[in-house]
Symmetry: C2
Subunit: 376 residues, 2 copies
Amino acid sequence: MKKLNCSASLGKAGVSRRGLIGGAVAASASTIAAPAIAQANPPLKWRMPMFVPRTVDSVVVSANDLTRRVSEATDGKFQLQSFAVGEIVPGGPSVLDAAESGSVECAYTMSYYSVGKDPAYAFGSTLPFGFNTRGQAAWLFKGGGLELLNEFYNKRGTHSLPCGNSTAQMGGFFRREINSVDDLKGVKMRIPGLGGNVLAKLGVVPQQIAPGDIYPALERGTIDAAEWAGPHDDFKFGFHKVAKFYYAPGWWEPQATVMLFVNNSHWQELPRHYKAVLEAACTATYATHVAHCDTINSPGLRNIVAAGGQLRFFSQQIMNAAYDATFQLFEELKARSPEFARIYPIWKKFLDENELYFRVGEASYDNFVYSKRVRG
Amino acid sequence: MKKLNCSASLGKAGVSRRGLIGGAVAASASTIAAPAIAQANPPLKWRMPMFVPRTVDSVVVSANDLTRRVSEATDGKFQLQSFAVGEIVPGGPSVLDAAESGSVECAYTMSYYSVGKDPAYAFGSTLPFGFNTRGQAAWLFKGGGLELLNEFYNKRGTHSLPCGNSTAQMGGFFRREINSVDDLKGVKMRIPGLGGNVLAKLGVVPQQIAPGDIYPALERGTIDAAEWAGPHDDFKFGFHKVAKFYYAPGWWEPQATVMLFVNNSHWQELPRHYKAVLEAACTATYATHVAHCDTINSPGLRNIVAAGGQLRFFSQQIMNAAYDATFQLFEELKARSPEFARIYPIWKKFLDENELYFRVGEASYDNFVYSKRVRG
């Protein structure tokens, strides 16, 4: 799920008047907080722009869970105020930009919107053929990944706390069946980020289109294909009506981590127990965000198929070609970005060494029960 | 992972002198808490017996994460004091018994130790051929499962908060290879709970043996097989030295939910924001417990194989027979327990309807990358 319909050059100057007024209020509240540590629960109000409109259930339900948890755990004293995309910040990379520059206290977003600035921003969100949802959580929370990424984010102005994961995304809607790599040549597809870079190597012509413009573009045939999110949110957009072949898996986004990025100085000034509340609330919301997606996507997929969508799987030939192109791209990114080059070998080592038990203990079970329940 | 080496009839009378003294202290602390709600963070100290010895890393690391989170988020005011199995409560069902009776404020355990009292206690922990780790989380947190289970637990004296999951367990160690259902006949296996009931239908003779006694029993040939946990903790016990065939998957425990059970009256008296802290800390620990297991089990499995353990998969014939015997057992349990009969159809409906996207969006990706990385 990516939205890149806005200028990447947005900093403080791009914050609306409403945003600036809110900023002044919040800044004074957090300035009061530091000397007030003696007070058990000092009042604090932070603005939290989000990367999505309020209609994207898979994400907004979790943002609400997060703000509720923080408020309730501090008896209403520490408030995160969420803003949908466009309300105080346009969207795309500008959401994280605002937290990095300090024009807002924190941002609820995915850092891969900023891969144009540095491809290392992808690790905190997702990489093609990278971790699945549990692999990413293992690496971030217990495999040293989060500490490693925070070294990078800190230099850019924020401290990050994982607070959600939209899980494996789908491979998008195509107007025609795609059976071979040849069928991909010249296909105009709405797909941003590193996935677009990989598909470009296979002949696809990636397009950057805002979510609201995807449907008419597909309908008119301006584009031949588009990817957006998982089945629940995809169904709401109705893409299956104008491009009926719905592909799996979304190998360019096998999990989709959402983080709360807290501006460095606001993080440092936060009372210690508020840091603990925020960490617990974010990590709890990580768990319930995954649980939420795992509750809505099966019904969403059934809805799409019932409405005439045709489920397809990418052929082995396409999967193999995409896999090879992906790891070739990673080599190129290492040469381009010192931060990508620093993080990549550590990421790759964990990826290589940590899938064994998923395969032996989990997939062997999952595949068996899926085969039984499909037959049943 | 089950430990049933203690009397199931243990209530307050079974609490040691040290436990009773601690209980008196804690009771007075929590009695103070109720009138002190006006105070932002009233001091509170709860005793939390655990179901494992301190050596079981996969669980104890998470218990420590939980107690740390609660303490830090309340500026040290709300303390959960953990006790290893045997310190104030013997273990097995007595851990939950102590919270139900109110002889401790809360218990950190798995409710399936109490299936002897009512098989409905299994739903909050694990069922053979039931949910995998993500399925269980979806059902509990966002599918209505937790509310449903708390109706049951409340009647028995506690309010439950999921706070961990040890993920898919292994299928245990066997002294001889098991290729067919015939090979299972007469096998004396250490396996408690519903998994033991299913295997008994296939001819296995289930044995209840405390963890510390498993190794010598396998070595002497008193038993032919034993299951314990996942590879990390299994390796530490060294079972591969005396029963080298290590089987997957542990279909009787495809996930293993740990909960914090809070005695009803202590839950009701808890200040509202402490409830929120406890909920956030438990749910956060659910996420990091899974992440922890997903970090230690691949190295654990490699260690077992490097030390001479022989990895095997249950044959399709055995899996099919176990699957059929399991759902036959569930029908019998419905007839035996009104609570099992009430919860089962709701649980089964979610199970049947919610695996579709795991299969389409996740397993299709996972199986592809596993095949690539194994070859690579």
